[in-house]
């Protein structure tokens, strides 16, 4: 059985699905990275991912177009962002507990709407893979890297975009200043809350996309589809030391573990009780990762602290 796992074709499957499975983590953790760099902790992205996943499923099934699903995920993500921004920036609610609230809202809402509006899940047309011309034809390499659905390419592109935005733009400078020393930024005329509003909206849209990336390639939705991926994405921000490239590395790591577990199942290497054990691998890995990455070098000093000029 093990020899079947270590064949070229099996390893290609594992590596290709590593990248595919990393995508939801990557969208969510990139968005959370931007938010945390500006001082906003959002534990609710798990809930936003669920809402993004459900709305993309629903929109795609109603319109028959997976791209309408992507759009729906962005719109609902944005709405959830406005809600979170209102609660944390205007009402100054404690961010940790507000995030848990958003998670529970997403979990409950998608469950109810799914039963009400859908009932029995009908598979929808997912996003078709885009084979990159020429590159996709390279043996092995092409199969691993260049035969994915568009959201996969988009997520990798966003790693570069996020890095450039953070390090090379005035908006990025504002984000870093607001996350480290909001009072200082304020005295220079930078609006702390407006900067945070933007990072919250971007982060929630990306969490919505993360939900879409869970649904659209596979074409189905179920209750609690995300099963903790949003929380893992938050952990990946810490793992990645608040850098997009670090979030990328972490997402690949978790994608790889999931891919290996899937392949074990597909090849019948594990079954029954052992398969339940391997299914726990991501959870165990999360704990291990967080234990190793207990250092806080790079954590924004104003993380999860509401800003009030007079306070």
């Amino acid at each position: 059985m093990w020899s079947e796992f270590f064949t070229v074709s099996s390893l290609v499957v594992v590596l290709a699905s590593t990248i595919r499975l990393a995508t939801p983590f990557l969208f969510a953790s990139l968005g959370e990275t931007l938010g945390q760099r500006s001082g906003v902790l959002n534990l609710g992205i798990e809930g936003v991912m669920l809402i993004g996943a459900f709305s993309s499923y629903y929109a795609a099934s109603k319109t028959g177009s997976p791209w309408m699903g992507v759009l729906a995920a962005l719109v609902t993500g944005c709405v959830m962002g406005l809600l979170y921004a209102f609660v944390t920036l205007v009402l100054h609610a404690e961010q940790g507990i507000s995030g848990i609230g958003v998670f529970l809202l997403g979990l409950g809402l998608t469950d109810v709407l799914f039963q009400r509006w859908v009932g029995t899940p009908i598979p929808i047309d997912g996003l078709d893979p885009w084979n990159i011309p020429f590159l996709a034809d390279i043996p092995t390499v092409g199969e691993i890297f260049f035969q994915h659905n568009p959201l996969v390419y988009l997520s990798v592109l966003l790693v570069v975009v996020a890095t450039v935005v953070i390090n090379r733009t005035t908006f990025g400078l504002n984000i870093r200043a607001v996350g480290e020393a909001p009072d200082a930024a304020d005295t220079l005329g930078i609006s702390v809350n407006r900067t945070r509003l933007f990072t919250i909206l971007i982060g929630n849209c990306m969490a919505g996309l993360a939900g879409a990336a869970l649904v659209l390639p596979f074409g189905t939705f179920q209750q609690n589809l995300t099963s903790g991926r949003g929380f893992i994405a938050v952990a990946l921000v810490y793992f990645g030391a608040w850098r997009p490239i670090g979030a990328f590395a972490g997402s690949l790591l978790f994608g790889f573990v999931l891919a290996v577990v899937n392949q074990f199942g597909a090849l019948g290497i594990v079954s029954g009780a052992t398969s339940s054990l391997t299914a726990m691998a991501p959870a165990i890995l999360t704990i291990v990762v967080l234990a190793i990455v207990s250092r806080r070098i790079g954590q924004p000093a104003a993380l999860s602290k509401p800003f009030d000029r007079n306070g």
């Binding site: 005035t170 200043a177 020393a181 200082a184 304020d186 220079l188 930078i190 000093a301 007079n310």
Partner: protein, 510 residues
């Protein structure tokens, strides 16, 4: 100077601002002429900060108007203030520690197409640095810089924005003497350039040395307006406090008693594992105040913490009242009869969210008079605290007020009330009047001298040289964790102390 009248750069007319329960500013008028320094004096809570926050757009006045360069202006945010040419150097620097000096300057300036290009910014920054002699590495991260350099970065940030009027809030509070001299050179250059400066300070001799005009605030109102030539330190202090204040402390000689605190060959490591107290020995006798003078960061904090058992000592001996402390812990050391006033009163001296009563009882709460079988005797608490608050003149609304709501001076009086009433007669007192206003400082000094008269042994660790000289029978100078000089009251020579503190003596005596 008096010949032709100059149009004022800034006029604040009849500014009033009310906070719940307090009139922070009550019809305050304040004017600054170009090319001059106008100092704003006042005790904590007199309304200086509020007035400056209004000017910088961090807070809105209830009534009154601001005129800048002849026009009435509406300053609703810091960016408005900056666009008018008003800059502010905050007491707690407004710098982002994880960014470079240049990036801090670039913050909020925007950039073409949102791309932050540092090259033009660095170029202009070099010009500004050179012009005013403000040397600092533009590529260094702020957290890597010394305090003086951070301040220069802060000033550069304002000058880069072409400020015409610069507000300096307690700019010398954190600087060493040399850094203060450098700062004054820069400030004189700025006024020569026609810029207006507003200086907020507690230190009267600095205000007198640097200002053209002085306005004193008390309880939100202007209590005096004068010029340095027409006033004295004592007059200014009286305007601030509202009653005569004396700076000369009556120090009657008292009989010196037995050695109460003896430290021998103490070695202590600091937070970064380096040796910060290095083979230090000293003795304090009853009826004696021994002052430890020195520039901040030369082992004072570690020394105090080691004596009180808050920091392990690597080697050496600490004897209190003739008993060698074997296992130092705060509790054991208190039992030996030593009390401690820590330098960080908000962190180590009180629990800010506890009430005044609770903080006053933190030491004695489990003694027999205040607890039986683990239950607190709350009535006895109340009685004792009412007494202490009265005896030590702690100003608080009620005994049940949160300690956080008290002013710095009153929190310090609270700590001193608790420590000095604990029955201990060996006292380690660190920075007792840092950030404390003149009235409370005077009171605290009197309390220290009173304890001395009663035969207590007092180790006074302070970075305020004037304070050390005024109170101490003997002065030790600490540098790099060692005592590098000792002098008794009658032989004090300020210059010699300054040389010891800056380490120049090494070359002289070698």
């Amino acid at each position: 100077m008096q010949t032709e009248p100059v149009a004022p750069m800034l006029e604040m007319r009849c500014i009033s601002k009310r906070f719940p329960g307090v009139m922070a500013n009550d019809s305050v008028d304040f004017t600054v002429l170009p090319g001059t320094v106008h100092s704003l004096l006042g005790e904590n809570g007199a309304g200086k900060s509020t007035l400056m926050k209004i000017l910088y757009g961090l807070c809105r006045q209830d009534s009154g108007s601001i005129h800048f360069e002849g026009k009435e202006v509406d300053i609703s945010s810091p960016s408005k203030a900056i666009s008018h040419g008003i800059g502010m150097i905050h007491q707690h620097f407004m710098l982002v520690p994880t960014l470079t000096v240049a990036e801090n300057v670039a913050l909020g300036l925007g950039g073409r197409y949102g791309i932050s290009d540092m090259r033009p910014i660095k170029k202009r920054l070099s010009e500004v640095s050179e012009r005013y002699g403000l040397k600092v590495n533009h590529d260094a991260l702020i957290w890597q810089l010394a305090v003086g350099e951070r301040q220069r970065a802060e000033i550069l940030k304002a000058l880069y924005r072409d400020v015409k009027l610069l507000i300096l809030d307690e700019p010398t509070a954190v600087l060493t003497r040399n850094e203060v001299d450098d700062l004054f050179v820069t400030l004189r250059q700025l006024t020569a350039d026609g810029k207006g400066l507003i200086l907020i300070s507690h230190k009267l001799h600095e205000v007198i040395a640097l200002s053209d005009e002085i306005t004193v605030l008390r309880d939100g109102k202007v209590s005096g307006h004068t010029r340095p030539k027409e006033t004295t330190r004592d007059q200014l202090a009286q305007l601030m406090v509202g009653r005569p204040v004396s700076f000369t402390r009556e120090v009657a000689s008292v009989g010196i008693g037995d050695v109460k605190l003896a430290i021998k060959d103490l070695i202590v490591r600091g937070d970064r594992e380096t040796v910060t107290v290095n083979n230090l020995s000293l003795q304090v006798r009853g009826g004696e105040i021994v002052g430890v003078a020195g520039v901040s960061g030369n082992g004072q904090r570690e020394l105090a913490e080691a004596i009180f058992g808050l920091r392990p000592n690597e080697s050496g001996e600490i004897c209190i009242n003739g008993v060698r402390v074997v296992k130092p812990s705060p509790k054991a050391i208190r039992a030996c009869g030593l009390a401690y006033v820590p330098e960080e009163r908000m962190r180590d001296g009180v629990i800010a969210d506890f009430t005044v009563t609770e903080n006053l009882m933190l030491v004695d709460y489990d003694s027999e008079s205040f607890a039986t079988k683990g239950f607190l005797k709350l009535r006895a608490f109340q009685q004792r605290c009412a007494e202490l608050v009265k005896n030590f003149a702690v100003k608080t609304a009620t005994l049940e007020s949160k300690t956080r709501q008290l002013s710095g001076g009153n929190i310090q009086k609270l700590v001193i009330a608790r420590e000095f009433s604990s029955g201990a007669d060996t006292l380690v007192v660190a920075q007792p009047t840092r950030g404390v206003d003149i009235g409370a400082s005077e009171y605290i000094h009197e309390q220290l001298l009173l304890r001395r008269r009663n035969g207590s042994a007092i180790l006074l660790i302070s970075e305020d040289l004037d304070e050390v000289i005024a109170l101490s029978d003997r002065i030790l100078v600490i540098l790099g964790g060692r005592i590098v000089g000792e002098v008794s009251r009658q032989d004090v020579n300020v210059q010699q102390l300054g040389l010891w503190m800056s380490g120049v003596h090494d070359q002289v005596s070698a």
